[in-house]
């Protein structure tokens, strides 16, 4: 990767991190209606995947943990923040919220409150792309925990049977809530599972910008070119709790993974870059993110008029 790609990724990753940090602070201050699940640790992987997509022709579905995915796809951060904060100007005027982020215009078909629920929906986007010959593909993110859910397992098979252009991205952060992935998943590997259903499959270290980018591009291109599904398992750390505020009593603090953002920083610093570049990028990303979340926080609560439209429609 060119230095420029690395620094772009760095800025975006720090923007996501800072955006979620600001949300966490807003949550602590009582400004967020619901619980937020932060993407800390998965930013690099999600940016790598996004860089392989042709948006919004390609459509993505995500899990409950999709703030980072939304930003990686280029969803308007203010509309996103307003949605998460339940404020006016939110993507869905606050009807959806943190677990239901919808921005098809940017390629985000939707995120989901039901573990695995988003995966069959992605098959539909793939079917539309195939039937309408748009040249697009679908991407569905889900977690290691979701990989044990019937909806996901059936979808792996159906995608193969119908030869659908869909890329499954399993973010393996080692945990489903408090339960270790190693406990919850039988068999030796999720890759083996995917392959048994007939999927092309690969694993990446989701903290490695180069490998993640290369593999994401390779698989996305393969899906696009062959029209067949593929499966990417990415190891990513879950740097914080299951949700913001999770005390994580079930987890010891030692042995935590290192931060992929630091790894990327190291890679950039190892090249010949001007003094202060990294710090400048960081503070710019943080300042930008903070400003946006502040603006969202200052916005009024989303009004309830949207409800009336739906009530009226339901009657008619």
């Amino acid at each position: 990767m060119e230095l420029e790609d690395l620094t772009l990724m760095f800025e975006k990753a720090h923007f996501i991190r800072a955006f979620e940090g600001a949300l966490a602070a807003a949550s602590d201050a009582g400004e967020v209606p619901g619980l937020v699940h932060l993407s800390n640790g998965a930013e690099i992987l999600e940016l790598a995947v996004a860089s392989a997509l042709d948006l919004p022709k390609d459509q993505v579905t995500g899990s409950h943990r999709s703030h980072g995915i939304a930003l990686s796809l280029g969803v308007d951060p203010l509309a996103l923040a307003c949605e998460i904060l339940g404020r006016e100007g939110g993507l869905s005027e606050g009807l959806g919220g943190t677990q239901h982020l919808i921005a098809p215009e940017s390629g985000l078909l939707g995120s989901n409150g039901i573990v695995g629920g988003q995966v069959p929906l992605a098959l539909g986007a793939a079917l539309s792309a195939k039937t309408l010959k748009t040249g697009g593909i679908a991407v569905s993110y889900f977690g290691d925990g979701a990989a044990n859910q019937g909806a996901v397992l059936e979808s792996l098979n159906l995608a193969v049977v119908l030869k659908l252009p869909v890329l499954f991205v399993c973010e393996n952060n080692g945990f489903g809530q408090s339960t270790a992935s190693a406990y919850a998943a039988g068999g030796t590997s999720l890759l083996g599972r995917a392959r048994a259903f007939g999927l092309a499959a690969a694993h990446v270290d989701g903290t490695d910008p180069l490998e993640a980018t290369k593999t994401a591009h390779r698989l996305a291109a393969w899906v696009r070119d062959t029209g067949s599904p593929a499966f990417l398992e990415a190891s990513v750390p879950r740097l914080s709790g299951h949700y913001h505020g999770d005390a994580e009593r079930y987890r010891t603090t030692d042995g935590r993974s290192t931060d992929p953002l630091d790894r990327l920083e190291g890679m950039i610093l190892s090249r010949d870059v001007p003094e202060g570049l990294v710090e400048d990028m960081k503070s710019r990303a943080h300042a930008d993110a903070l400003a946006i979340v502040d603006e969202a926080t200052a916005a009024p609560d989303a009004s309830d008029t949207a409800l009336e439209a739906f009530m009226a429609e339901a009657q008619a």
């Binding site: 993507l91 009807l95 098809p104 078909l109 039901i114 069959p120 929906l121 539909g124 979808s155 159906l158």
Partner: protein, 334 residues
């Protein structure tokens, strides 16, 4: 005007809508039939409703699936969000348990969660109904339950014309619509207009006019109610029979108008005895037209236990025209 059965009318309506709009695709188990089997013929669904579609419109638009309802109902839902207008079949409504999340959470809520930024023109077709010894998991009627899920439209045709017409409206609707076809009615024949016109969702139909009591009946029970009304007439009781056709949204105005006229309400419905369609209508009418009621409303529903298999037991479980007649007479005497 032509004479045809309900399954023929549905088949014709499928042909019509698919010919008119190539965004319409059909998805389900065995709806093409014989997929992967060499040398056989197209099946066209276990009740023949999708017959001839695959040979006419191709396997790209008539898609057989594995027995993976969650994955394919979800796929249809996602396709409806992204430009297609899928008709997806869940063979029996009893099987919706295995894909209920995709129905109650995904299909029902997605448009709302998007604040209406996308439409969700999804039609889910399914069968329902007891009376043919199919047992506890192939005989249920779940229209009340499905109607209780905000965001779903639910329609239950009782005639060939309504079946075809409601299908046409469902594929054109903005939100997800469930079309529930009673197994006992597929062979039911009646006249239809040649072009099988669309029937508006949310519009009921007065099947028979009357002045003494209002019978609200759904699907196969419409015919039982008609037979009951005919018999009641002999005893001087004029029953008005209304087929709401759509369970949700319900044609409240039509029902109220009738009850205001008759002052008496009987709901005959094959779904749940507790918190089902009958309870919904009785509650709605009592709340909205209490002063117009001359007698306690009556619900004619199956027993509040699973559907039994044996013939005698199933007959006891399932109300008949006789049950309606008896209930109506009791109400008139009260």
């Amino acid at each position: 005007m032509t004479q045809m059965t309900l399954s023929q009318a549905l088949n014709r309506a499928h042909h019509d809508v698919m010919a008119a709009d190539d965004h319409i695709i059909v998805i389900g188990e065995d709806i093409h039939g014989g997929s992967g089997v060499t040398g056989g013929q197209e099946l066209g669904g276990v009740f023949g409703v999708t017959r001839g579609l695959a040979s006419r419109f191709g396997a790209g638009r008539v898609i057989d699936t594995p027995i993976s309802e969650t994955a394919f109902v979800g796929m249809a839902t996602g396709a409806a969000m992204t430009g297609l207008k899928p008709i997806v079949e869940v063979m029996f409504c009893d099987f919706m348990g295995v894909c209920f999340d995709q129905i109650m959470n995904q299909a029902a809520k997605a448009r709302f969660l998007s604040n209406g930024r996308f439409d969700l023109p999804l039609t889910i077709r399914t069968t329902m109904g007891a009376g043919d010894g199919s047992g506890a998991m192939h005989s249920q009627s779940t229209f009340g339950m499905l109607s209780s899920v905000a965001g779903l439209m639910v329609a239950c045709p009782s005639s060939p014309a309504d079946a075809a017409g409601l299908l046409k409206s469902a594929v054109a609707a903005k939100g997800p619509t469930i079309l529930m076809e009673h197994k006992g009615l597929y062979g039911h024949a009646d006249t239809v207009e040649d072009d099988l016109p669309a029937v508006k969702l949310g519009k009921g139909r007065v099947v028979r006019e009357g002045t003494d009591l209002t019978i609200i009946a759904v699907s196969a029970f419409v015919h039982k109610a008609e037979a009951a009304a005919e018999a009641l007439k002999k005893d001087g009781i004029e029953a008005e029979v209304i087929d709401p056709r759509t369970i949700k949204p319900l044609d409240e105005a039509l029902i109220l108008e009738s009850v205001k006229k008759t002052g008496r309400l009987l709901v005959a419905s094959e779904d749940a005895a507790f918190a089902g369609f009958a309870d919904a209508v009785i509650s709605f009418v009592t709340r909205a037209a209490f002063a117009d009621l001359k007698a306690a409303p009556v619900a004619v529903t199956p027993l509040d236990i699973p559907v039994p298999y044996g013939r005698k037991a199933e007959a006891k479980w399932l109300p008949t025209a006789e049950t309606i007649i008896k209930a109506a007479k009791q109400m008139m005497e009260a």
